[in-house]
């Protein structure tokens, strides 16, 4: 395993401690519960926005805690939803008169932990709701599944809800906005290599030197199919097609386009994907009004990328454009 790691069991706590050390004054770290929160949260006049999920997706979600984004992140271990008492303790610490909104990606483990944590908090009179995110088109709704997975599109839900909460929206309004953004957001990812969880120490799956996994999950779950690796433009064509036809996005639509790196892919390659995606959309009469190229929701060190589209209207566009501050700043 070629990683910067000490004891793999301390991978998440040490990372969180690093984030806290790099953000004195603005972020607070509660080691007992993997909790990273804004130092000024909770505020009685603001809905507290919390995202929970497994770790290994950084900068999601621990590094997007900040003004106009999350009030707290409640991460579990690598690729594991947090234990329910982390959820409960986090909710308790973030309790605000205006309520707590828990953003949860649609996975069995996450939903169970957050449902249980929420019930425990509610039993103590805390106002708390859950909003589920499910933007992954790789998995079709079917009798087999519990619905689509939540992947990189959660960035847009966080951004919009975070902006709304900052502007004073109440809990119902935050939920309305979060649902609305989730409903117009679609993502699909591909993997060129497998990721290596620190505690496992070896790649999660085998992918041949000339293979690509289409529709991979952000935990290294297999996707739609394994294919022969083709050139960048052809990959974009296939992924974009699956994403565009799912909502569908139509000629005349304005969209936000995100090319999200999965952890091991350099940003140079992401711009090569961006170029073709932007041009393809233009050919179809779909206008990219906001662009996002970089790492937003990763899968440890996996080489790969996902493409996300968000259909914009004035309300969503304004919320995405609102200023915000997070740990993954450049300057």
């Amino acid at each position: 395993m070629k990683k910067f790691v000490n004891d793999p069991k301390q991978f998440v706590p040490e990372m969180l401690e690093g984030i806290a050390l790099a953000n004195p004054g603005t972020l607070t770290y509660v080691p007992e519960y993997n909790l990273i929160m804004r130092s000024d949260a909770p505020r009685a006049d603001k809905v507290s926005i919390v995202q929970g999920s497994g770790s290994g997706h950084e900068p999601a979600h621990v590094m997007v805690v900040g003004k106009g984004m999350l009030d707290a992140a409640c991460p579990g271990d690598v690729f594991a939803a947090p234990p329910m008492d982390y959820v409960y303790e986090t909710t308790k610490r973030l309790a605000s008169d205006k309520g707590v909104l828990l953003l949860v990606n649609n996975y069995t483990g996450d939903r169970m932990a957050f449902d249980m944590g929420k019930e425990m908090a509610e039993s103590e009179g805390i106002k708390v709701e859950i909003l589920t995110i499910n933007d992954d088109v790789a998995v079709k709704d079917s009798t087999y599944t519990i619905g689509r997975r939540g992947v990189a599109g959660n960035f847009f839900v966080i951004k919009a809800v975070g902006a709304a909460a900052e502007q004073g929206a109440d809990l119902d309004e935050c939920i309305r906005i979060g649902r609305k953004v989730n409903d117009v957001t679609r993502t699909m990812g591909v993997a060129l290599t497998a990721c290596t969880p620190p505690a496992k120490g070896s790649p999660l799956f085998e992918l041949g030197a000339d293979e690509i996994e289409m529709g991979v999950g952000i935990h290294g779950e297999p996707g739609r199919e394994r294919k022969k690796l083709v050139e960048a433009d052809a990959i974009v064509d296939e992924v974009l097609d699956a994403v565009v036809t799912d909502l569908p996005y139509r000629s005349g639509d304005n969209v936000a386009l995100m090319i999200n790196g999965l952890g091991g892919t350099p940003i140079s390659e992401l711009y090569i994907l961006y170029r073709h995606a932007h041009q393809r959309l233009a050919e179809q009469g779909i206008t990219v009004k906001r662009s996002y190229v970089g790492e937003y929701c990763t899968s440890l060190d996996m080489a790969g990328a996902s493409i996300t589209l968000v259909k914009l209207d004035d309300e969503i566009e304004a919320l995405l454009a609102a200023s915000a501050e997070v740990a993954i700043r450049v300057f």
Binding site: G54, D77, M116, R149, G223
Partner: protein, 214 residues
């Protein structure tokens, strides 16, 4: 400590030790169509059980099991924390305050545990989860008890039943959990949770004294 509590101690201790010892194996099973963390999650949670072993409330077997369930669900993340935690807690609740547990009590506790998992996971037999090992195993325990088999014999039969049932998950398509996202591609590999149950029951069977305790 009562004989019953000693037996419960032995069973839970063996479950915990088996989970810790098989971290890598269980993780590898979960890597095929899952995300590879099952072994890690289970090991970290049951490590905590072992760490706090002597201090766990042993007022009666039911209380002991509930406490174990709380440690497990507050320390294990992922799907397994709520699932395994619920199973122990439901079993403990069903045991109530009894100091002695009969074979029938054990079956009732196992039924409560699997019902709890079904409720928590909105899952059932045939979804390719640990239920597909646990439920056939419980059925077998029940029928062996009815035929008057002695405890050691019942356990041996349970181990065989769990192993067979776990292996039979290979042909199933996952309908719950992370593996379900892969649809048909989940066919052809064994379910990690079901196989963990089989391995654990085999170890409990081996650890069980062939003579002595009732």
């Amino acid at each position: 400590m009562t004989d019953t509590q000693q037996q419960v101690d032995l069973v839970v201790r063996t479950i915990a030790q088996t989970a810790v010892d098989n971290e890598t194996y269980f993780g590898d099973l979960d890597s095929v169509v899952g995300d590879g963390d099952f072994g890690y999650s289970l090991a970290r949670g049951f490590e905590k059980v072992i760490e706090g072993w002597d201090g766990i409330d042993r007022a009666n077997p039911g209380t002991f099991l509930k406490k174990v369930g709380m440690i497990v669900s507050s320390r294990i993340g992922g799907t397994s924390g709520p699932i395994w935690g619920t199973a122990f807690m439901k079993a403990g609740i069903t045991a109530g305050t009894a100091q002695m547990l009969t074979g029938e009590d054990v079956v009732a506790m196992l039924r409560a545990a699997t019902d709890g998992i079904k409720m928590r996971g909105q899952s059932d037999v045939g979804d390719k989860t640990l239920l597909d090992a646990l439920i056939p195993m419980t059925d077998r325990i029940e029928s062996e008890l009815r035929s008057g088999t002695d405890p050691s014999g019942v356990l041996a039969a349970a181990a065989v039943a769990a192993r067979e049932a776990a292996e039979a998950t290979t042909d199933m398509v996952a309908k719950r959990g992370r593996a379900s996202y892969t649809g048909e591609r989940s066919r052809g590999s064994v379910d990690a949770g079901a196989m963990a149950v089989a391995v654990i029951v085999e170890h409990v069977n081996q650890a069980w004294p062939t003579e002595g305790v009732s």
